[in-house]
Amino acid sequence: MSFDVPDDLRYLESHEWVRVAGDTAKVGITAFAQDELGDVVFVELPEEGAELTAGEDFGVVESIKAVSDVYAPVSGTVTAVNDRLRDEPELLNEDPFGDGWMLKLEVDDESETDDLLSPDAYRDQIE
């Protein structure tokens, strides 16, 4: 099976994606990740204002069969969380790169994105 890996995103080996525009970033998990997890039933996210550090876990995704930590692709301050996931965690399965986004960050250091996987590198990883 082949999974969507949008070209305008950067990735972590642990299957998070980030879209960086200037000093803001949007973060979620990939189509591959949601397929591995199966039916997502619960998402635990930080509060607005929380400080995240690149590579550290910031939340939890629970599916019927598994529980998985999610990791921050870049460091920054949470400016928004996707409240819809509270009552519609299945958005992570249905639209992981769109309506299933998890949070927005004000990025501390844009150069951190240089350490992330390119779409091609991530494709290689999940093939």
Partner: protein, 363 residues
């Protein structure tokens, strides 16, 4: 160690199932999604390859005596074509396994057939043989796990689906009865048993007939993932989770299946269990429903509202039918009544929860 694979392995791969190691078997865990499969069984029907379950036959003049010695229930009440649930306990009354014992119909090749859990077939065959030899009984015990495939079809539509493929009158087959007959051209044993709480059947057939039976039952293929959420909604025990001789040593009374213990029969563990029955178990398995958000999982601590540890979760999930987080837990008997306020510690956070009687669903 090489994993054992069910005869239908290639069929499941073509259906794009994902697999897991369960009891030494590589079994399909998910075909579509656990939720889809679960809902199919609750509303229509689903089929499960449960060929990882063991099959052991017991024959000969002392077959009844031997099986009576090693299971907690009273097998002498079984007429040909009847089955019963029971436990297999050690001298201390600790559950080694749970099983369904079938007394096979007149004319079947064997007299008793029992179904140990996945990976327990070798150990249980040894147990029956050594008890036989120790007591000088005249019985033949045969591990037939490789000679049988087992396919379950479960759900409100299961009776109609199976009726279209068999010559056996299913209307005449009550719960926990077994008949021999032909399914999709394959000589089979058909039992009205299951692990989902829905109407349904388990079909035992030779491995070379498994694909014909599986294909003839046109409904949602289901993996072990949905099997687990379905049984958990019913509060059914899973070997290795709710009981395990080392990791979770429990008596049938603690595990909530005291009704399978026939103290008026002679079996290994009886004397220990008589004491437990008289005093009542100190701890009991109870249903838990989380009121806060979160998912209870195996091993999580259960505490009082004040934070005093009182037990632990053995199995938990988000119930696809109820849409709420449910679990089974061992707690002191005083907390095992419904509607006790407790906490489940999820990643260090105490979550509000209440005890519940099982099954979680009315079935």
């Amino acid at each position: 160690m090489t994993l054992r694979a069910p005869p239908l392995s290639a069929v499941h791969r073509r259906a794009d199932a994902s697999f897991t190691d369960f009891g030494g078997w590589e079994m399909p865990v998910e075909f579509e999604s656990i939720r889809t499969e679960h809902e199919a069984v609750r509303s229509e029907a689903g089929k499960f390859d449960v060929s990882h379950m063991g099959q052991i036959t017991v024959d000969g003049p002392d077959a009844t005596t031997l099986t009576q010695r090693l299971t907690t229930n009273d097998v002498t009440v079984l007429d040909p074509g009847e089955a019963q649930y029971g436990a297999i306990t050690d001298e201390d009354g600790i559950m080694l396994d749970d099983t369904v014992v079938y007394r096979l119909p007149e004319g079947a090749a064997d007299e008793f057939l029992f179904i140990p859990n996945a990976g327990h077939d070798g150990e249980m065959t040894e147990r029956w043989l050594s008890e036989r030899d120790e007591r000088g009984l005249d019985a033949t015990v045969t591990n037939r796990t490789e000679e049988y495939s087992m396919i379950a079809v479960q759900g409100p539509d299961a009776p109609d689906l199976l009726a279209a493929e068999t010559d056996v009158s299913l209307a005449g087959l009550s719960r926990f009865e077994v008949a021999d007959g032909v399914v999709a051209g394959v000589d089979s044993l058909i039992a009205r048993t299951g692990y989902t709480g829905e109407p349904g059947f388990e079909i035992l057939c030779p491995p070379n007939g498994a694909e014909a039976v599986w294909s003839a039952l046109e409904c949602q293929p289901c993996g072990l993932g949905a099997r687990d959420t379905l049984r958990l909604e019913m509060g059914f025990l899973l070997s290795g989770q709710e009981f395990h001789p080392v990791d979770e040593p429990r008596t049938p009374y603690e595990a909530g299946i005291g009704w399978t213990v026939a103290l008026d029969t002679e079996f290994v563990g009886r004397d220990a269990l008589e004491g437990v029955a008289a005093d009542g178990p100190e701890e009991k398995l109870v249903g838990i429903e989380l009121l806060d958000r979160g998912v209870p999982r195996h091993g999580y601590d259960v505490t009082t509202p004040q934070g005093e540890p009182i037990g632990h979760i053995t199995s938990g999930t988000m119930s696809p039918t109820l849409g709420s987080p449910i679990a089974l837990a061992y707690v002191p008997a005083a907390y095992a009544e419904p509607d006790e306020s407790v906490r489940v510690v999820v990643r260090g956070e105490p979550k509000k929860a209440r005890t519940r009687s099982t099954p979680f669903l009315d079935r």
